[in-house]
């Protein structure tokens, strides 16, 4: 059964809001996309599939993740009560594993033996390599060359897990170029290969698939908060690159109009500068990477090079459902700069003893701004999408500290 909000969001299958989403991809991949769509539809009611998914989430990925009351932050900020949804405590250290487990099971169902994936910060690549190792599948990961340099540790982790990592040297050599390369690889070899899309982007059904598997975040959070506080949160905050942890954090609250949904984009050096990745604030409608959505682009439709300190948010587009949620004003999207995110990285480490991913710290930075303006009886859930071990070296560098790595 579709909820009222979902009907509003998708009049046609795969269309969000007025016209976001859809399928804009070379013909070579369309038959494959149809197969994925069919398998996805079936898996929702396939008891065996659901049992395997549940088992892996609980016994392998360490779910449910904690909903942790951040007492020190709450006290320090002096406003709303702050809960952190600890996706950083999942196996492999980020929310990415939720989606990857689901899609790897889909790939098995489709008879595929080889997983390919793009990665920005490396978290999705690590998660894909991990599941491939567990399930005895091959994995090849495409990562912008620039990202392989700023996330060297994750490159090594992927290789350790048995994946082949391809540094992508086309374009600006970051996440968008990695997506291009992975799409090209899939178009060249789809017979035995499944593209594990890492974010809630791409042609339908990928945005729906990623949302479905990431919705576990808000499903748990809602139940956990009910148990602790017997009510709904007033606000849910999550960072947005392509938007997978955000759509997962929002999913089960979209139909609760009292819950404010806030997506935090990477503003880089500032929303008004050219060095930004704040797609919803600065972007315009376009068609790219298989979807109609909002993109940072010039008047001719050439996609911009984008910038953020965070390799995971460094993407010129955003998932179509976020574009639709912004259009209908159901969710609000704000920008946080590099400086603010790095401050938040240090802040949450010192206040709560949590080294959170620089991506997630964009959300934390917004919480620092908004919580003091809220009443003490109000509640914020902030999703910590990943852990920050991978970022320690680059944050040190940002602060001018030399460390051997």
């Amino acid at each position: 059964m579709k909820t009222a909000e979902e009907n509003k969001l998708s009049k046609k299958v795969g269309i969000y809001g007025k016209e976001f989403g859809g399928q804009y991809i070379p013909e070579t991949l369309m038959t494959e996309l149809e197969k994925v769509e069919k398998a996805f539809k079936e898996c929702k009611t396939d008891e065996k599939f659901q049992a395997q998914l549940h088992d892996l989430l609980i016994n392998y990925a360490n779910r449910p993740s904690l909903l942790y009351y951040a007492k020190n932050m709450t006290k320090d900020l002096g406003g709303a009560k702050i809960y952190l949804k600890r996706e950083d405590l999942n196996h492999t250290g980020a929310h990415k594993i939720n989606n990857v487990i689901g899609q790897a099971l889909l790939a098995k169902k489709l008879g595929k033996k080889r997983l390919i994936a793009e990665t920005g910060a490396g978290q999705h690549g690590v998660a894909t390599a991990t599941i491939a190792a567990l399930m005895g599948m091959e994995s090849e990961i495409f990562m912008g060359k620039k990202d392989t340099e700023r996330q060297r540790l994750n490159v090594y982790r992927m290789e350790l897990l048995g994946a082949k990592v391809h540094p992508v040297t086309t374009g600006s050599m970051v996440l968008k170029d990695a997506v291009n390369a992975t799409l090209q690889e899939w178009a060249s070899r789809s017979e035995d290969t499944y593209y594990v899309m890492g974010s809630a982007v791409g042609p339908y059904p990928f945005p729906a698939i990623v949302k479905y598997f990431q919705s576990v975040i808000s499903k748990e959070a809602k139940e956990q908060l009910q148990e602790k506080e017997h009510k709904l949160p007033d606000m849910v905050v999550a960072c947005v690159g392509g938007g997978s942890n955000a759509i997962g954090s929002f999913a089960n609250f979209i139909d609760d109009p009292s819950v404010q949904l806030v997506g935090v984009e990477a503003a880089g050096k500032g929303v008004d500068t050219d060095q930004t990745a704040a797609t919803i604030e600065r972007g315009s409608e376009g068609i790219f990477h298989g979807m109609k959505s909002l993109f940072l682009q010039n008047n001719d439709g050439q996609i911009d090079k984008v910038y953020s300190i965070s390799a995971g948010l460094d993407y010129p587009g955003v998932g179509p459902e976020h574009a639709a949620l912004a259009e209908m004003k159901r969710a609000q999207y704000v920008g946080i700069t590099d400086d603010e995110a790095v401050d938040a990285f240090e802040y949450i480490a010192k206040e709560e003893g949590i080294v959170a991913a620089i991506e997630s710290c964009h959300a934390v930075a917004y919480v620092r701004k908004i919580a003091p303006k809220m009443r003490k009886d109000q509640i914020i859930i902030c999703t910590l999408s990943g852990r920050g071990d991978k970022d320690v070296a680059s944050i040190a560098k940002y602060r001018g500290v030399q460390i051997d790595d």
């Binding site: 991809i25 070379p26 070579t28 369309m30």
Partner: protein, 264 residues
């Protein structure tokens, strides 16, 4: 407006591809004229895109050279305008949907009509999304040329039935670029398309020698060659027109040898 399907009526067609503004404005104009003089039936002119996901290294590099020359959509229109002073050769644009979308479907198709551009090849516009541009393109007499791939399978029927201009048959899986082997069911693929439409079917992706062109022409209605010509432009730079005219004549001959065989 030139009727694309008619071009294929009495012969096998040769459709060469170049990237607009690679390496510069004047050379592109001269290249279009050279292709026409060499015997091209239709010139496929690429409008560069920042992220050409259907294209291999050769065309990606050509797009970068065009960007270095400062290409934008207006410049491409001006190139066609300049070429139209010298030749009436039928031209189709190859570009990605975002270029057309950002310009506005209506405004873009209107420009096509003004410049006598007969059709658009848009690799990231599958059958499912044609509806948003086809009614507008129809209004201005612009064909939206569909692609069929070796993986198309049961999709062939609906794609072929909706086709106008010609059907672009993708010779193999993957992206553009020279190849020495093709999908081995390519002849059957063309036959399957023919079951559902009278619109001609031309084969492209990877073809780069006269022998390959001859073979592909013998099993279809025409041959599309891209990367091999773009490679000549890369090597010859401003001297490209003479070199690509020579290459075009060679391919023309190879394709025509099939025409003659057919007549006999």
């Amino acid at each position: 407006m030139t009727n694309l399907s008619n071009i294929f009526k009495n012969k096998k067609a040769f459709i060469p591809f170049i990237v607009a503004d690679d390496p510069d404005f004047d050379t592109t104009v001269a290249n279009i004229v050279a292709l026409a003089n060499g015997g091209a039936d239709i010139v496929e002119l690429g409008i560069p895109f920042s992220d050409p996901v259907a294209d291999g290294k050769v065309i990606q590099a050509a797009d970068l050279r065009a960007f270095a020359a400062g290409v934008d959509t207006e410049t491409v229109f001006k190139i066609v305008e300049a070429a139209r002073q010298q030749t009436d050769v039928p031209i189709v644009f190859l570009t990605y949907l975002n270029i057309v979308f950002k310009h506005g479907y209506e405004a873009f198709c209107k420009q096509c009509q003004r410049l006598n551009i007969s059709g658009l090849v848009i690799p990231d516009l599958p059958y499912e999304s044609r509806g948003e541009i086809v009614p507008i393109a129809d209004k201005y007499g612009v064909d939206i040329i569909p692609l069929v791939a070796p993986t198309s399978g049961h999709r062939i029927e609906k794609i072929a039935k909706a086709a106008s201009g010609f059907v672009y048959v993708v010779s193999s899986e993957g992206i553009t670029g020279e190849r020495n082997s093709f999908y081995n069911g390519i002849a059957d693929l063309v036959k399957e398309i023919k079951k559902y439409t009278d619109v001609p079917a031309a084969i492209g992706f990877g073809i780069h020698t006269p022998e390959q062109a001859k073979h592909m022409a013998s099993i279809s209605d025409g041959v599309i060659i891209g990367s091999a010509i773009v490679d000549i432009v890369k090597k010859e730079k401003q001297n490209a027109p003479a070199a690509i005219e020579k290459f075009t004549k060679e391919i023309r001959e190879a394709v025509d040898s099939v025409n003659q065989a057919k007549v006999r």
